[in-house]
């Protein structure tokens, strides 16, 4: 059955006003939550920023005062005022820089503390969300929520917040200083702000478009590259190189053009902003010069004026940069809060049942129904009792519902109706922790994690000793192979895993099962990539493992089925035969047919 990820709410571009309000409220709530533990630090940074900016705005005034008032005493041989001025200058500068230091470190600590909390919360949430969610949401999305979106938030929190404060303050303080020193220069500033306002609005609009276009093409470029080189085997074997090159070159050129567009917007904005600033400087010089001529102003003040005039526009660029950062942060926050708002529909019980005795492993299906997509049941109403200690084999075609039945017991999904009891308790009333202790499933996915071979086998029980790991590997017959790896059990799979054959992967992941001791063991016995003797060995090991516990095996081989206590034949979401293997063969139903078909395939 093809699986097509249904369109997700977060992929929607146009939202209705209510949806927008809801998304905004949700994001704001999350922002408050993550910043709440650090609110006093935030307050402290604001104070620090005000102090640092005030001092650095004051410094040019000190210069101008010295020029205007320290020369006359100097001529008379009195250098004390000049000395005071010079010392004050150094003192204030050191004060400002220490304040800035404190601010930088404090801001990082705010950002990092908030991110650490958010990161852990998201990871935990991802682990709690059911398998069904991950199937539609896809791993790529979760990964980008937890990496690139958090990265965006980081750059906003790291520099954005205190940068915004210091930028705005610095502009305001400088403008105030200009107005106080010479109101006419202040008025000229106001006039200059008009073209700057329009220019910046243009830049913001244009650059947002240009950068978005660049990001989109960049993602395509990466996607194409990765696909080409992860599939390089097929590319080479089918001489697909020229087509790949053409398609890649096409996107690469597109990317080049988009990058150029983005840089050009900046290349127009920055010089224009600079030109306006330079014009303003000339105007201030003229206005100030007239004032000095008329005796309203001293030359030192004129110097201060020109310094302020060069400084006043500086923050505008970082302000528009900040705006871009802010916008990306908002959209990241929207996505993150959307992810966290996903309620796990397989939820932890509010009041978990605590067992007094250990579970002995009886499983009961009571009127259980289940469907992945409503209206299309994957499992029709089923009643089933599996007594403790029984070995149960599930057989049937691919897609018949065997795995569904098994996954319900492991609570990968919750039943749509009815209930599933484990030793008399509805599994929805068991805490996740308790359930996972009592029910363990070995999936057919041979997924290996980075880390050593031993770490991978130990995954099921991190406390297992080296000896136990060795024994597990021997039981499935993969010990000899591991022993001849360069560093044996210590070989890192991240760097050497590429050349493991699919059979070897499967064996390593099977070995995990031999380290656990649950009441109910579910085995998805997919051994397609193993040769028959290896498969036999695995089966013998599994048979030994299933002693003394309830075992549900999704069986692919007849020998397993014939050895089990009971067989269920599943077809189109229904149990159509149920009984001991011998009884089923004698009754001449579907199962008997299967046995016969195999005999024929063997040419007997």
């Amino acid at each position: 059955m093809p699986r097509h990820a249904p369109p997700l709410a977060e992929d929607k571009v146009d939202l209705s006003p209510e949806e927008q309000r809801e998304v905004r409220a949700r994001s704001l709530k999350l922002l408050k939550e993550i910043l709440a533990p650090v609110r006093w630090r935030i307050l402290a940074t604001v104070v620090l920023v005000v102090v640092a900016t005030a001092i650095s705005t004051f410094m040019p005034l000190l210069l101008s005062y010295a020029i205007d008032h320290a020369v006359a005493p100097l001529v008379n041989g009195d250098a004390s005022l000049l000395a005071q001025m010079a010392l004050l200058y150094v003192g204030l500068a050191v004060c400002a820089s220490i304040t800035t230091y404190a601010n930088v470190v404090l801001t990082t600590s705010i950002s990092q503390k908030a991110l650490y909390g958010l990161r852990a919360r998201m990871f935990e949430h991802a682990q709690k969300l059911p398998v069904g969610f991950h199937e539609t949401y896809t791993s790529g999305r979760v990964v980008s929520r937890l990496t690139s979106d958090l990265e965006t938030l980081k750059s906003f929190l790291d520099s954005g917040l205190s940068q915004l404060a210091s930028t705005i303050l610095s502009m305001v303080f400088t403008a105030v200083a200009l107005v106080l020193l010479d109101w006419k220069s202040g008025l000229a500033l106001l006039v200059m702000l008009i073209p700057i306002w329009f220019l910046t609005a243009w830049f913001r609009r244009r650059s947002a478009v240009a950068f978005r276009a660049q990001r989109v093409v960049n993602a395509q470029l990466i996607g194409r590259f990765v696909e080409t080189f992860t599939g390089i085997r097929a590319v080479k074997a089918f001489r697909y190189e020229s087509v790949s090159r053409e398609r890649y070159g096409d996107i690469a050129e597109d990317y080049r053009v988009k990058v150029m567009d983005a840089i050009k917007v900046l290349g127009i904005y920055m010089p224009t902003l600079g030109a306006i600033g330079n014009v303003y400087l000339g105007v201030v010089l003229t206005i100030g010069g007239f004032a000095v001529l008329n005796g309203h102003m001293e030359v030192g003040v004129l110097l201060a004026l020109t310094i302020y005039a060069t400084r006043v526009f500086e923050p505008i660029f970082s302000l528009s940069d900040f705006y871009n950062q802010f916008q990306s942060a908002v959209s990241a926050l929207e996505k993150v809060s959307g992810f966290l708002a996903q309620e796990p529909d397989v939820a932890e019980p509010a009041h978990p049942v605590v067992r007094t005795a250990e579970a002995d492993g009886s499983v009961v299906f009571k009127d259980v129904e289940f469907s992945y997509i409503s209206g299309r049941p994957a499992l029709h109403r089923t009643n089933l009792e599996v007594p403790a200690g029984q070995q149960l084999a599930l057989v049937g075609k691919t897609g018949a519902g065997k795995s569904t039945l098994a996954k319900l017991v492991a609570r990968f999904y919750d039943v749509s109706s009815g209930k599933l009891l484990l030793d008399g308790v509805d599994i929805r009333d068991l805490s996740e922790e308790q359930l996972r202790r009592e029910v363990v499933m070995v999936t057919q996915e041979a997924f290996l994690f980075s880390g050593t071979v031993a770490d991978n086998i130990r995954l099921a029980r991190p406390s297992a000793s080296d000896n136990e790991v060795l024994e597990a590997a021997k039981t499935v017959g993969v010990h000899d192979f591991i022993a001849q790896l360069p560093e044996g059990y210590g070989t890192d799979l991240a760097t050497r895993g590429g050349r493991l054959s699919s059979g070897q992967r499967q064996l390593i992941s099977f070995a995990r099962a031999f380290l656990v001791d649950p009441a109910v063991l579910i085995l998805d016995e997919a051994t397609a990539s193993l040769d028959i003797p290896s498969e036999k060995l695995v089966q013998r090991g599994l048979a030994q493992l299933s002693q003394g516990r309830t075992t549900i095996i999704i069986a692919h081989r007849l020998s397993t089925v014939l050895d089990s206590d009971r067989v269920l034949v599943v077809d189109e979401g229904r149990i159509i035969e149920d009984g001991s293997p011998t009884a089923l063969v004698q009754s001449g139903g579907v199962f008997a047919e299967m046995v016969k078909a195999w005999d024929q395939a063997m040419g007997n």
Binding site: M1, A93, A102, V104, F123, P271, V279, L285, V395, A460
Partner: protein, 607 residues
């Protein structure tokens, strides 16, 4: 907005295969060096103009203070000159950006395509060793770093150097002593920044490493979510993740402290320099050896020069990054032994000499993976008749898949040879060799494209009518039992792969089989092609394949007796050697073969 909309230009063509490419940055810049140099010149002029502005200020102030009859006309003239210079400077700045944008993006594009071509030509053993993540960094962020260095960093570095020279000239024009004071502060600042840069580099690398590890943890925990849940290991994974996140947090804090303390150091140096200058300058003004205007110009010039000095650490960082990126680029580009393949569409792929089934002969073929101690295959000798179906059977890890991949020379033999119709494959052109065969891999690879394009990938479609193509597509889908394709939302035109619909493992395997068949190759290589199929589907595919493969030489690997049943003969592979060969009936007498096929036990699979 034509000023902003850039034009597309043709993609640079690939170099000749044996052309040794110069891979230095300066070589990549060859076609655009003149433009870049012009950009640098313009940038230097722009900065020089900017540094002249304080001189106008000095002139005006000295006129106001020094002249007996200061006039409004002089002030107005000063203001006008200042505005004119300011506009000139901004104009030059604009010109510089426009000159250099083109240059840098062209360099990036050329490097990107050269890297791509090189990667396409490098053999599979290279790709096994590198992994696509490493290569991705080289084609994305590394190239962006280089582009930023070419377009901004390098120009800025040269300009800053020039600015310092011009600035010192103007400063010493006013007062030699003041110029010396400033000059003395520059190396002190640079040393502080250099040390900061080195410390920062180490911390940044550490933080990148840690956040990379963290990302891997996230990726694995999500992709392996079923395994983690099934084994109840969610909380352990969370603990490991939290430890990693805490380590990253510590590194980030250390980075921030380094940044903060460097700021304290540089701004203290600047403040002390200015205070000393104020002290010295005013004394000179009092003694009459310096005019007020000149002192003012000094402070205004310093205000323009300091950013150049402070920016040095950023430039050093950019330079170091770009140098590492160029080195890493060179590392890939200078790896020898590229394959001679066709990279441009329409270039002539030699026509298959004849469409008939070919014979194959292995003579003492031996092969070892690069980093492995023992060969996977040793001294393999084997004859396959035209049209024959040969099954390779052997225990897990015995080298069956490797043997298949030697034929299209995805890996090259270490010794011995393989003959295709009596021609040594090592002597054949790769495109010719590969066009004679097709392969279905154990782990199927499909591309982001329609089902149709994926299946007809190996078919020479240019010489075929629509109807013929349609026929081939239908046959291939039928034989591989891929009837599901018709039920996809848009039938055979449905997009699949990374950017399209995701298919199940069994479906992907069947499409991969269909693709191998559709090419009508002279040799067909099937690596365990039916493993993901249930018994009934397998049975159907086997009987159709048997019919279809009569005119193709086929090598296939298999585990199950039902797949082996396809073959005319079976070769048993054990520990990299062929230990027995014969028909299935003959081989049954071989004890290892019988054990592999479990012929002593009449119990097999049911689903």
């Amino acid at each position: 907005m034509s000023l902003i909309r850039s034009r597309r230009v043709p993609v640079p063509p690939p170099l000749e295969n044996d052309a040794t490419a110069d891979v230095g940055l300066w070589q990549y810049m060859r076609p655009i060096r003149a433009k870049w140099l012009l950009g640098v010149l313009v940038a230097i002029s722009s900065t020089s103009v900017a540094l002249s502005i304080p001189q106008v200020l000095a002139w005006v102030i000295d006129h106001l203070v020094g002249s007996d009859s200061p006039s409004r006309r002089q002030v107005l003239l000063g203001g006008t000159i200042m505005i004119a210079l300011g506009l000139l400077q901004s104009g030059l700045m604009f010109l510089r950006r426009m000159l250099i944008i083109d240059t840098s993006t062209t360099v990036e594009m050329t490097m990107r395509m050269r890297l791509f071509d090189q990667l396409m030509r490098l053999p599979l053993s290279f790709h096994d060793a590198w992994g696509s993540g490493q290569l991705l960094t080289r084609s994305t962020s590394d190239l962006a770093l280089i582009r930023r260095w070419v377009s901004f960093g390098s120009v800025q570095a040269i300009t800053s150097g020039a600015a310092l020279c011009v600035g010192i000239f103007y400063l010493s024009h006013g007062s030699g002593l003041l110029a010396l004071i400033f000059l003395a502060s520059v190396p002190v600042t640079l040393v502080v920044l250099w040390r900061f840069q080195k410390k920062m580099k180490a911390l940044t690398r550490k933080s990148q490493q840690q956040s990379g590890d963290l990302a891997t943890k996230v990726e694995e925990s999500v992709q392996g979510i079923r395994v983690l849940k099934a084994l109840g290991q969610g909380s352990n994974a969370l603990d490991r993740f939290k430890t990693g996140a805490a380590e990253l947090m510590d590194t980030e804090m250390a980075r921030s402290r380094a940044q903060g303390s460097t700021f304290v150091a540089t701004s203290t140096i600047t403040a002390i320099t200015l205070a000393i200058s104020l002290w010295v300058g005013l004394r000179q003004v009092a003694s009459g050896s310096l005019s007020v205007g000149e002192l003012t110009a000094f402070f205004a010039t310093i205000a323009l020069l300091s950013p150049h000095v402070e920016r040095a650490s950023q430039l050093m960082g950019m330079w170091l990054d770009a140098r590492v990126a160029v080195d890493r680029h060179r590392e890939v580009m200078s790896t020898p032994a590229g394959e001679n393949i066709v990279l441009v569409n329409g270039a002539t792929v030699p026509a298959v000499s004849s469409g008939e089934a070919a014979s194959l002969a292995f003579e003492h073929a031996t092969f070892a993976y690069e980093d492995a101690a023992a060969p996977v295959l040793s001294d393999i000798s084997l004859d396959v008749r035209p049209g024959e179906i040969l099954a390779l059977v052997g225990p897990t890890g015995s080298g069956k898949s490797t043997l298949l991949q030697l034929l299209p020379r995805l890996y090259e033999l270490d010794s011995g040879s393989i003959f295709l119709d009596e021609q040594d494959i090592a002597q054949m052109d790769l495109p010719e060799l590969r066009s004679a065969m097709s392969i279905a891999f154990e782990e199927p690879v499909l591309f982001s494209s329609s089902v149709r394009d994926n299946v007809l990938l190996g078919v020479n479609r240019e010489r075929m009518s629509e109807a013929e193509q349609e026929q081939i597509l239908r046959d291939a889908l039928r034989v591989s039992s891929s009837d599901f394709a018709a039920q996809l939302p848009e039938g055979v035109d449905t997009l699949i792969g990374e950017e399209g619909l995701s298919l199940s493992g069994g479906q992907r395997q069947r499409l991969s089989l269909a693709r191998a068949i559709a090419a009508h190759p002279r040799i067909l290589l099937l690596d365990d092609p039916l493993s993901a199929l249930d018994v009934r589907t397998e049975e159907a595919v086997v009987s159709m394949l048997k019919e279809h493969l009569r005119h193709t030489t086929t090598l296939l690997t298999a585990h199950r007796p039902s797949t082996v049943a396809l073959a005319d003969r079976v070769a048993l592979l054990e520990n990299g050697k062929i230990t027995a060969i014969g028909t299935h009936q003959q081989m049954m007498r071989n004890p290892s073969y019988a054990r592999l096929m479990m012929l002593d036990e009449q119990k097999g699979e049911v689903a």
